[in-house]
Symmetry: C2
């Protein structure tokens, strides 16, 4: 895949899935809903306070009477669990954050009785379209796990591979990043990378090719990898960059956006259904791409 | 400063300093020497095996008979200590790596008797010219300290501030980066950032304004900082990004180069004299900028 637009194109001709929005009274979110429903990309279940939703919809110029939109009124505090329940019951396939705290939405998702816990480790999976780069590249985890253990990294890799495979990648190449491409006992990132690589070879992590540690340049540039004589299927060809810490992943994510002028789609993976957590600073285009990524990823 | 070229311009009209190159028999390094001597930026002391230096100079089209060049023949294994000694004695002001291992050069620099130990903590200071950005930005430490302690971070900040001040920055703004801009006890990067900020306010780190933690976007973009209502002198205006770990700093460094098409100059700071460690993958332009950065930084 070369363009994020392809995520939207892939949905054409498929029966539209439904997105449940927790407390939908958010003008920016409803602008994305308008765009998505205008092109028939999805249908929407808007939960939350009906009057507030109507006001926000008016500002977003979203017609709430169209068949693609259903409203389920409830107290704002109930909106997260309402949206999660809609997905749990099969009435919707994707959860999207509206005007609620991320914390309260994730609490509803992780609720042991009525939630969508899935594998238990949720992680943030971002897909970037970077100018001058030939392919889209996934980056994980820049938002959820602060200092993931090896066990958590296994889940983080699986979560990202799950997204990639559903979006059409066959055997995505995963590069666990470190500052160097050699194993250094003083650098835990390199040890975890080696372990993940061997777990992949032993069939403990499937549907992907893992090869690390790789430094960023060796992972993304064939030229850099060959200058260092690194022989690896993932070197210079990584589809998924798995980053050691939230500090590194978060800074990389933002450097792609602010310095490399990249476009991004992002989804939370690892629950029973995709979760879309857009933030105010995301562009309208990015929100639409994130929805498309989640809809592609949804397997229900 | 907006362009790395200004580092070169600042040297014009100043008496040229001398750069001691450890085992200078490296074609790429001598190409940089040729460019630098052509514009009168510096003079050079080439140490190492004379025959090999002559061969490399021939390939680099460098005239070894010009007055700007002096050769001090020695066994290749002695070249590092020879170059370091030249700086120690005042015969040169900058050490540059030729065809020697980084390790052996740093060993000579850190030698307790004959070295240039300085503050004891050496760190890598890179200065980037990034397309679409209004100002040059320093990044540290992407190569030397794996997981710096707070004490080491203090030296890393001082080392970077030292470079910035000698290059013309007055009171550079330092942003200790983290994944978030709030203090989170579970995130050591945020605690160290808070400590560094207060050390600056208490006069323990001077000649700069430190304010952190800041996430990458809050540090570099005024818009991102104002969207989050962050009130800070460094927010959106950081001159120096001080990164928590080598994994994060190294990946950022390479993302600037490979994804943001940035140009870079880099120097090792913290010893008694600047050390230039260019690598084979650096462009000729980048090697020249690194030399200029080191020459500006040199105070001897």
């Amino acid at each position: 895949m070369k363009k994020l637009q392809e995520l939207i194109d892939r949905l054409q001709g498929q029966p539209p899935k439904r997105v449940a929005i927790a407390q939908a009274a958010d003008e920016e979110v409803l602008k994305a809903v308008k765009k998505a429903s205008d092109i028939g990309m999805a249908t929407f279940l808007l939960t939350g306070d009906v009057e507030s939703i109507k006001q926000a919809a008016h500002k977003a110029e979203l017609d709430l009477t169209q068949p693609a939109i259903t409203i389920e009124g409830c107290e704002a505090a109930e909106a997260s669990s309402k949206a999660v329940k809609a997905v749990k019951s099969g009435d919707a396939q994707v959860v999207m954050k509206g005007k609620v705290d991320t914390k309260s939405l994730l609490k509803a998702v992780l609720n042991k009785e009525n939630g969508l816990r899935g594998r238990g480790v949720l992680s943030h999976v971002a897909l970037f379209e970077i100018p001058h780069q030939e392919r889209l590249i996934f980056l994980t985890d820049s938002a959820m796990n602060i200092a993931p253990t090896l066990e958590e990294k296994v889940q983080i890799v699986k979560n990202a591979v799950g997204v990639a495979v559903e979006c059409g990648w066959k055997m995505p190449k995963v590069a666990p990043l470190a500052a160097v491409e050699v194993i250094n006992p003083a650098m835990p990132a390199t040890l975890d990378a080696a372990a993940l690589t061997q777990m992949n070879r032993r069939g403990q992590i499937t549907n992907c090719i893992i090869d690390g540690p790789l430094a960023f340049d060796n992972a993304v540039s064939k030229e850099a990898a060959s200058q260092k004589s690194i022989s690896s299927e993932a070197a210079g060809a990584a589809d998924i960059l798995m980053v050691h810490s939230i500090e590194a992943a978060n800074a990389l994510y933002k450097s792609f956006i602010y310095f490399a002028q990249a476009k991004v789609a992002a989804v939370i993976s690892g629950a029973e259904a995709p979760i879309v957590l857009t933030s105010r600073s995301d562009s309208a285009e990015s929100k639409l791409y994130s929805l498309a990524l989640a809809l592609n990823y949804s397997t229900k």
